[in-house]
């Protein structure tokens, strides 16, 4: 028998970046907010003794406990989906701060092209291009210009250090902090891409280039370039991280309660409106009902989609008819990458920061002509110096065995003499890639797991091959004496780590028939439910998604405040 708790104005499910921002902004306005987070609480003091590659980088200390919940995976409808038993391809976060604790901090804005991708692609290349490639692309129902102020709010909150992207959308303000330092590696990349006629710039970074105070009164320290950023928490408080930058402020308002170990399993509804949520206290296994006026779902892509499906909110996507919206347009990213081996140079590769790097957008979005190409979009090509650690960094020249004396010699030699250059290739939705509930496998509480049906498309393979060639040219221009073999993109494999930039499932748009939420992240079907995060991306761009996620969160807050005052659909 579940215990019913006193009603709140707003429930937030998940306390990562979006949940924290929304909590702070609502609480600031006097809204009574409860944040329900299934993982543990964290603060700066919990990031001590963090320079441990095995514990954090390899054994995933800060990530989701898969024994309780995972996803199942298959390539297509004819295969049997099986559980992702171990973390691999992407790393799901858990606990206060979510993945905002252990992210690298590379914080871009999606391009103006992204938000109007369908219109702009058809306008320039015709409907045939979209049809030939079998793409389910759609406009987002909002433009870059409309989102611009919200991007800036997030850049202030997370303290972005950066310089203007020469090929990006126009900015109304400079970044709150100057770019991070240059190193021999970033300079080599910038020189080479400059020589090739491209437009290099520093990666916008949530690692602070200087001491900084954000709009919530949080002081973030200057980054020490210690090389333990991705997959680690920052012991200096030098990384934009919700537990440091936002949650303390939310708590100070007196209107925000954070409840850890609260795993929300269902959104409760009556007559087309949400009335609250059911959650399980993961420590006692006790069940609670938390009523509220609005429910804000701010988990990861998988969590958001699964929670709606398990709650019967919104119409599930049907891949054979193309109807329904929940689970639609699941996207990932395409990562062409090449490693360059440098006989003459030796780099301080172990120094670095998660978002220390240089990049170009000459082959991203529609910044280059696609008339004669068999794909659309592209990717941001970057060299990052995130701190190469020795267990995971064993680059060896092509043809080297994977173990034994020669492997040992080459992996030791090239540890400080190799650099990898990778693009984050955009991922376009196709009809056959989607999320739904698994018919067989359950989580620790008996609820169905999310099932992912996903494989790469020809669009992906063509993009991979084209951008890969460009990367190889850059590395050779940088002076690499040898480069790794470029492999062809074949089938998606859930084992090797690729990227934690999963998107879609609860997508936004301007039509209730083809999208789940409007541009305030408000559900069309249930106007007091807001689903915020990368789950609302109708496709995935060629960048890290967090900047755009943050912008959508600030946009959503504005909608929630209006809704709490006036009610009804916001668009």
């Amino acid at each position: 028998m579940a215990t019913t708790l006193p009603k709140k104005d707003a429930i937030i499910v998940g306390m990562g970046w979006t949940g924290s921002i929304i909590a702070a902004e609502l609480a600031k306005e006097g809204i009574e907010v409860i944040g329900l987070e299934r993982g543990k609480g964290r603060s700066l003091k919990d990031y001590y003794v963090v320079h441990d590659e095995l514990r954090y980088g390899i054994r995933y200390e800060l990530m989701q406990d898969l024994s309780k919940e995972t996803v199942t995976f298959r390539h297509d409808d004819d295969e049997r989906a099986l559980p992702m038993r171990q973390m691999g391809s992407f790393l799901l976060g858990e606990g206060s701060g979510g993945a905002g604790v252990h992210w690298n901090g590379q914080t871009f804005r999606f391009l103006p092209y992204d938000f109007e991708i369908r219109s702009k692609t058809i306008e320039k290349y015709g409907q045939e291009k979209v049809d030939e490639l079998g793409l389910s692309i759609q406009d987002w129902g909002i433009t870059y210009e409309e989102l611009e102020p919200y991007f800036y709010e997030f850049e202030k909150a997370s303290g972005i250090s950066g310089e203007e992207n020469p090929l990006g959308g126009p900015r109304s303000q400079e970044y709150p902090n100057p770019p991070m330092k240059d190193t021999p590696i970033t300079l080599k990349f910038k020189d080479a891409t400059d020589q090739l006629g491209y437009n290099p710039y520093h990666v916008p970074s949530a690692n602070m280039s200087q001491t900084y105070e954000n709009q919530y009164g949080a002081t973030l320290a200057a980054c020490q370039y210690c090389g333990f950023c991705e997959r680690f928490g920052c012991e200096y408080g030098a990384k934009g991280d919700p537990t440091v930058a936002v949650i303390p402020f939310a708590k100070e308002t007196g209107n925000f309660e954070l409840r850890n170990f609260a795993n929300v399993v269902e959104i409760l509804q009556e007559d087309g409106k949400a009335v609250g949520v059911r959650f399980i206290d993961t420590k006692t296994q006790e069940e609670f009902i938390q009523p509220a006026d609005i429910v804000v779902v701010t988990g990861y892509v998988m969590t958001n989609t699964r929670l709606l499906l398990n709650s019967n909110l919104g119409k599930p996507y049907n891949p054979s008819t193309g109807e329904g919206v929940i689970g639609k347009n699941y996207c990932y990213q395409i990562l062409p990458g090449v490693t360059g081996f440098f006989e003459e140079d030796q780099f301080n590769i172990f120094m670095g920061a998660g978002a220390l790097g240089a990049c170009i957008d000459d082959f991203n979005g529609d910044n280059f002509d696609h008339v004669d190409l068999d794909f659309i979009h592209g990717g941001n090509i970057a060299i990052t110096q995130t701190g190469a650690r020795p267990i995971a960094s064993n680059n060896v020249p092509p043809g080297t065995p994977t173990w034994g004396s020669e492997f040992k010699a080459q992996s030791i030699k090239y540890y400080t003499k190799s650099i990898s250059c990778v693009a984050q290739g955009a991922s376009m939705p196709v009809k056959s890639n989607y999320l739904d509930l698994d018919p067989t496998y359950k989580d620790a509480y008996g609820y169905p797991l999310l099932r992912m049906t996903y494989n790469f498309s020809d669009q992906d393979r063509n993009l991979h091959s084209y951008i890969g060639e460009k990367i190889e040219e850059i590395l050779l221009e940088m002076g690499a004496t040898e480069v790794s073999e470029r492999s062809n993109l074949e089938n998606y494999d859930i084992v090797p780590y690729q990227t934690t930039h999963n998107t879609g499932g609860v997508i936004m748009g301007d039509d209730p028939n083809t999208s789940a939420v409007n541009n305030y992240s408000q559900m069309w079907d249930h106007d007091n439910v807001f689903v915020v995060g990368a789950s609302s991306f109708p496709h995935n761009s060629g960048y890290n998604p967090t900047g755009t996620v943050g912008a959508l969160a600030y946009r959503a807050v504005e909608g929630m405040l209006r809704y709490l005052k006036d009610g009804g659909s916001l668009v």
Binding site: V49, H51, D52, E53, L54, I58, R59, Y60, D65, L66, S67, E69, T70, F73, R74, H75, R80, L82, P83, M84, R85, Q86, G88, K181, D182, T183, P184, Q224, Y225, C226, G227, Q346, F347, N348, F350, M351, G352, L356, R389, P390, I391, N394, T402, W403, G404, S405, K408, A409, S411, I412, Y415, T416, T440, Y441, K442, N491, Y492, D493, I494, V495
Partner: protein
């Protein structure tokens, strides 16, 4: 010229020395084999070194971590040792897996949450899956190692009629190559899955913080010029020159505590 016993040992390959010294130490093939096989030159704690630098000899110590917590059959532990040493052998580049304590690292990992897949989804039903669906065996990692070590020994006996630890290096490599290609029959898991685990665990033992029992005296890091845990590179990040830095381990956090 007649070589003295000592000279003979010097001229022999290290592996052969290990093997022969084991036989010399009473010809034991049973329980006493490990102590005999692996000489005091590789196993003992040796010098106590400064946790800050890994250098600066401070006196004698006993490395109490170097005891098995998972393996109870030391013949089987010796097979693990020999296999790790082939993956990361001692050579001109520096110490190998055994000198670095890698087998103890793996043993300790198998005894803990990793060996028991504590934070992974282990609910059934189990199906083999495609090559793209990852780990699908119902076995936990410690059971995969149990099966793998049995498979190594079984293959050694059937191919060479000799125990794995007694084989020439090339013969040992041949068996590992077969494991890696998935050719060797195993119970409940394929041999390539076991080999991938063995290889990754060996590299982890070479390069993980010495707190875990491998990377002895940070020798793994020193080979690779990785300085371990450092508080800050703020003053060095822009350097055009490569900077050699004495490594520091997690142990140094507690010094400041």
């Amino acid at each position: 010229m007649i070589l003295t016993e000592q000279d003979k040992q010097k001229t022999m390959s290290r592996r052969r020395f290990i093997r022969n010294s084991g036989l010399v130490a009473g010809g034991l093939v049973g329980g006493g084999i490990v102590g005999g096989l692996i000489g005091s030159n590789t196993r003992n704690g040796g010098e106590l070194v400064s946790p800050e630098t890994g250098g600066e000899q401070m006196g004698e110590s006993i490395d109490f971590q170097q005891a098995p917590l998972y393996f109870s059959n030391l013949e089987r532990f010796a097979i693990l040792e020999a296999a790790c040493e082939r993956i990361f052998p001692e050579d001109d580049n520096g110490p190998g897996a055994i000198s670095l304590g890698v087998p103890f690292f793996i043993d300790h990992q198998l005894a803990g949450s990793w060996g028991h897949n504590a934070r992974e989804y282990m609910q059934g039903p189990f199906f083999p899956g495609t090559q793209y669906q990852g780990y699908q065996t119902a076995l936990k990692r410690h059971e995969v190692f149990d099966e793998g070590i049995s498979a190594i020994e079984r293959t050694s006996m059937s191919l060479f009629d000799t125990a794995f630890v007694e084989l020439e290096e090339e013969q040992q490599n041949e068996i590992l190559t077969q494991l890696a290609s998935g050719e060797i029959e195993m119970h409940g898991v394929t041999s390539n899955v076991f080999f991938r685990l063995l290889r990754s665990a060996t590299l982890e033992g070479v390069y993980a913080d010495p707190a875990y029992g491998g990377n002895k005296n940070m020798e793994g890091w020193k080979m690779k010029s990785f300085p371990g845990h450092q508080m800050s590179y703020l003053g060095q990040i822009e350097s055009e020159e490569f900077i050699e830095i004495e490594p520091s381990s997690l142990r140094s956090y507690t010094d400041h505590h």
